[in-house]
């Protein structure tokens, strides 16, 4: 017997055609994995063959982390700065534990801000992120300076400016990922 063409039209999602479109469940795996994977992959961008004379590449892991935290308060738990930061340390070249400490402190600071300034818009979030990015980068330089000889803080200026300007893009990417994450 010949199989009619209509029966094999959607091989990847066979039952979807006849499923109700109401009251669908979101995928738990997607909801958990997307924020974690996006921050982790952003931290690993330094592994690509990008060579700069001075620290110029923005800390993409930190940008994604702050975007998720500020865009979706309550998604990442307060302690999540430690594991995400320690993973970033594996790839950043900083002394191990430096981002673990600094990202966690940033998380606690945002938690304090959340209890004071409750209703915020995007520009205020950007300001908070800008201050935290500058603080984390300068803190990283200070920590690297404790362990080794470190350059003058002025070499960080281009990187700080670039990172602050790239924050809205990171929020956009997070928003796209978020709508994919919550899609049924």
């Amino acid at each position: 017997m010949k199989i009619p063409v209509t029966a094999i039209r959607l091989p990847t999602r066979p039952a979807r055609e006849y499923e109700s479109r109401f009251d669908r469940e979101q995928s738990m795996l997607k909801m958990l994995a997307i924020p974690i994977a996006s921050v982790a992959l952003a931290s690993m961008i330094t592994a690509l063959p990008i060579f700069t004379d001075e620290p110029l590449l923005p800390p993409f892991g930190l940008l994604m982390f702050l975007s998720w935290r500020l865009m979706r308060p309550g998604l990442l738990p307060v302690w999540s700065g430690v594991p995400f930061g320690l993973m970033d340390d594996l790839f950043s070249g900083q002394p191990f534990g430096s981002a673990g400490l600094l990202w966690s402190l940033a998380m606690l600071i945002i938690e304090i801000i959340d209890s004071r300034a409750i209703w915020r818009d995007h520009v205020q979030d950007w300001l908070i992120a800008a201050i935290l990015i500058a603080a984390v980068l300068l803190g990283g330089l200070w920590i690297a300076g404790m362990a080794h000889a470190a350059p003058e803080p002025i070499v960080l200026l281009p990187q700080i400016i670039l990172s602050i300007l790239l924050y809205p893009l990171a929020v956009r990417i997070c928003a796209r990922l978020d709508s994919w994450r919550l899609a049924t």
């Binding site: 950043s92 959340d114 690297a144 350059p151 070499v155």
Partner: protein, 300 residues
């Protein structure tokens, strides 16, 4: 935006305790991270295994992108060569004519040099290269100037081996993993290189500034003897880097030294050669006799 739900757990004891526990865990985690940091500052080599594992995981992707990058650069060069073929040919012929005379002079000098060395009974060690690899990534977002090499212990790469490219000195190995190794570039503030001016052998030290340039400081005090355009090579002092590896060109004179740009650009070097330490045995003996009895090798 509206305040998130979890901040007001209501009357549920379980939710209240749950919220409290997250804060306790957060602060405990911060303290734990600070302790890890203290350990890694006290013993920079301590977490080398973890970092090596991270580099190994990402190395396949980095290798692929590095190949793609190399291929596109070659393609650009080929296309550009076609466009500039005529004018370049004329210029090169002129240059070749000028070089021929110098080449003959150099040959004569080489013969004379070999004769003098024979008189002095100096044996010339071979270039003694260990392995050839590629730079596949660098820490471009950190203030540390560390690059990843595409080969590791599988090719005999070990810590404290100098690395050079075709243009000049790149740095030295600080951590060796199974198939990758990490190189401390000469532009890192931690990397001190004993150098000399090529014209008169004026001894100096080079320290990275973390922004692509190095600071050349002469050993003797006084006004800076450097001029813009001076060529700096390694001097072989200290026994790690062998002498006369091209190092940097002076671009600016400062009050007590000079700013220089290294010849080897990590972003544009087709390969990296790992070499034997110049005088490894003497160096090991010297470090064993350090005042506190510990090796003074910089780990990271």
């Amino acid at each position: 935006m509206a305040p998130p739900q979890h901040r007001r757990p209501g009357f549920s004891r379980k939710a209240q305790y749950g919220l409290f526990v997250t804060y306790v865990v957060a602060i405990a985690g911060t303290i734990a991270a600070a302790l890890l940091l203290a350990i890694s500052i006290a013993d920079p080599a301590g977490f080398a295994a973890l970092r090596a594992a991270g580099a190994e995981i990402t190395a396949p992707v980095a290798r692929v992108f590095s190949t793609v990058r190399g291929a596109t650069q070659n393609m650009n060069a080929t296309v550009a060569a076609y466009i500039h073929a005529g004018s370049k040919n004329a210029a090169l012929e002129k240059e070749a004519k000028a070089n021929r005379k110098k080449l003959i002079e150099a040959q004569a000098l080489r013969v004379e040099n070999a004769r003098l060395r024979g008189l002095l009974k100096l044996t010339e060690e071979g270039e003694s290269q260990i392995a050839v690899g590629r730079l596949i990534s660098s820490t471009s977002s950190s203030t540390r100037r560390v690059a990843t090499l595409s080969i590791g212990r599988n090719f005999g790469v070990e810590r404290a081996q100098p690395v050079r490219g075709p243009a000049g000195l790149i740095g030295r190995i600080i951590e060796a993993g199974p198939t990758t190794a990490r190189i401390l570039l000469v532009t890192d503030s931690e990397n001190l290189v004993p150098v000399m001016r090529v014209s008169d052998g004026l001894p100096a030290f080079s320290a990275g500034l973390g922004n692509g340039t190095v600071l050349i400081k002469p050993l003797n005090l006084g006004e800076s003897p450097f001029k813009v355009g001076d060529v700096i090579v390694t001097s072989g002092n200290g026994g790690l880097y062998r002498p006369n590896i091209p190092f940097a060109r002076v671009i600016k004179k400062t009050s007590d030294g000079a700013l220089a740009i290294p010849f080897a650009d990590p972003g544009n070097t087709p390969y990296a050669v790992v070499m034997q330490p110049y005088q490894g045995e003497a160096r090991a003996a010297q470090q064993a006799a350090a005042p506190d009895g510990e090796t003074k090798e910089v780990a990271e």
